[in-house]
Amino acid sequence: MRAIVTNGARAAAAWWGDHAAAQLGLLAGTVLLFAVLGANTLENMERFGIRPGFEFLHRAANFEIGESLVAYTAGDTYGRALLVGLLNTVKVAVLGCVLATALGLALGIARLSGNLLLSGIVQVYVELIRSTPLLLQLFFWSATLHALPGPRQAFQPVAGVFLCNRGVFLPALRFDPLGWDIPQLAGFNFTGGATLTPEFAALLIGLAVNAAAGIAEIVRSGVQSVPAGQWEAARALGLPRRRILRLVVLPQALRVIVPLLTSSWLSLTKNSSLAVAIGFPDLVSVINTSANQTGQALETMAILAAAYLTLSLAVSVAMNAWNRRLARRGWP
């Protein structure tokens, strides 16, 4: 028992380190600073007639939200509005990560191809995307999608897919009876199928195109990190090119790629907050409206920070687990 106590004390002392008094002072100073700021905040809130606390989440939010995964109308609670914003953020982040990864993989492979023209085109694409601000790219996509012709003159790049100033209309899978639900022009707009609003489509395309440039570079550096001797040895064993890639090169490349991919997904998730600038109602946008209407800046900012920290943490935990598995088995 005594051994455990001394061990614990020793560990605590090792954690605490030198200058215990100065550190206690620092701790006390930080607490004091936050106490003063907190007291100021409470005083100011009282002056403006705002009641501190999360009770406002149950009050009615008198604003519309453009699109939502769950039912919402103006007059529902602020809590519900924030949930709508959070779900919109998650929706665009998940779809964005999937699209960006697929596009980035294709571009990375194209960059590694022996064809000089193809590799050069990808290089120009990557440079162009990385040298301009994401917000500028989002403004561009937003302006482009809003400048498309009306539904009657909609573009149809692939059968069943329609692009017009009302958004992007895609065929959707239908379960009863099983089949495709194709969008149809009815009057002044399309009905049926799946609809992406222009704001959502601009954000999704912008985020995916932007992150894909980074992912292409990650894929390239990952494959390049595998020594040429590995290729040669596998060829000496008589393996065909396809199996060399699958069994020898990719498992080693993935060890480099996966940690970098994680940070690229995390930054895509954080970058989805730029939605507020092009009118997509993500979490930041709903938080901003709520904070301005209720004056509950402290509470809304706390929710915002907590939401993003949780999202970041969740992605890193999942990817770290996958990465450990990958390091052990060499293949997902």
């Binding site: 954690w15 605490w16 100011n44 064809n115 590799s119 301009t132 500028l136 904070a291 800046a297």
Partner: protein, 357 residues
């Protein structure tokens, strides 16, 4: 030949015509890819060229532009001063222009290794201070409130002050994160991870919405100053991680040797460890700087007018409404110019540092 060299050889542009021939038409599959690429380029480039150059209107009114059918570069000519300097009074544009030259000039000087000496620190502070005074309309003349500052000088000011202001903070955070003192370490880890876990927009909203509420009644901080402080804090977290990587790259023997010479903690850090650590991370710091230069555009969401926002709002002028493609194209060229120059500089610097080290 190592794999890197082999692949680098494959990815570098070839010097011999035969390498070009093999790279484009080496096999039937390869020739097919080349053909597909040519078709793609032939489909995409001519309309772009026609719009940007052949059908473009370089002078004239908005109506003449609309009749031409191509890009309206006359619009950029008409709005150039607004895009560059925002809402600043037109007859005092020499002030933001001089501030711009001051900031750019200092950036170029600070980029040359021959000027890396202690005297550059006060010189940098003087350049930043001078730019702020010029923009503020001081000395001599009517003061200009910060909500009228805008355009390119504002973008550069936010980026430069963001990087330079974050630097001391980042070094302290990085040292603190590796410190033996538990409370200091914990505090630094929390600051760094929280700032890196939230988007810059969230930090900017805290600065605009929450900070005024936290100040005592009667005390107020300028909105631009609050945004600048938010950017400095945000940058310092990312910079601290870069500096930490540099600190980890310094061999343990260096710490021990400094200790054997009788140097204390700060002496060791200042004279032995930090000079080596910072030298290795300079290219990463340049990359971070390019990112921050682009990220300053986010101040749009709190209603400030950087060069992207002035470009965008110039296309909302009723007389010239709707020329968004031209406005965004011009802004893109500006950012592209700065970023490409900076990344080329970073490559040059990396080569120079590795050859002289």
């Amino acid at each position: 030949m190592s794999a890197d060299a082999a692949l680098a050889g494959r990815l570098a542009p070839p010097r011999h015509w035969r390498a070009w021939r093999d790279g484009l038409f080496g096999s039937p599959g390869n020739a097919l890819i080349t053909l597909a690429c040519v078709v793609l380029l032939a489909w995409a480039l001519p309309p772009l060229l026609r719009w940007a150059v052949l059908d473009a209107a370089w002078t004239g009114s908005a109506d003449a532009c609309r009749a031409a059918g191509g890009a309206c570069w006359a619009f950029i000519g008409e709005k150039l001063r607004y895009i560059l300097f925002g809402l600043y009074e037109p007859d005092r544009h020499w002030r933001p222009a001089t501030a711009l030259v001051l900031l750019l000039g200092f950036a170029v000087l600070a980029g040359l290794p021959r000027f890396w000496r202690p005297g550059m620190v006060p010189a940098g502070a003087a350049a930043l201070g001078g730019a702020v005074l010029l923009l503020a309309g001081l000395p001599g003349g009517e003061p200009v409130p910060t909500d009228r500052w805008g355009g390119l000088p504002l973008t550069l000011l936010l980026a430069f002050a963001g990087m330079t202001g974050a630097f001391p903070l980042a070094v302290l955070l990085a040292l603190g994160r590796r410190s033996g003192m538990g409370v200091v370490r914990l505090a630094c880890v929390m600051v760094i991870e929280v700032l890196r876990g939230v988007p810059l927009i969230a930090v900017l909203y805290v600065a605009t919405l929450l900070v005024p509420l936290m100040l005592p009644a009667g005390v107020s901080l300028d909105k631009l100053l609050r945004a600048q402080l938010a950017i400095i804090l945000f940058v310092s977290a990312y910079m601290a991680e870069i500096v930490r990587a540099g600190l980890q790259a310094v061999p343990n023997g260096q710490y021990e040797a400094a200790k054997a010479l009788g140097l204390g903690y700060w002496g060791t850090m200042r004279l032995v460890v930090l000079p080596q650590a910072l030298r290795t991370v300079i290219p990463s710091l340049v990359t971070l700087g390019i990112g921050i230069f682009q990220d300053t555009t986010l101040i749009v969401v709190i209603g400030l007018f950087d060069v992207l926002n002035t470009a965008r709002s110039s296309a909302a002028d009723p007389q010239w409404i709707g020329f968004y493609d031209e406005a965004f194209g011009f802004a893109a060229l500006l950012y592209l110019g700065f970023s490409v120059a900076a990344s080329r500089y970073s490559l040059w610097l990396e080569r120079r540092l590795t050859t002289t080290a």
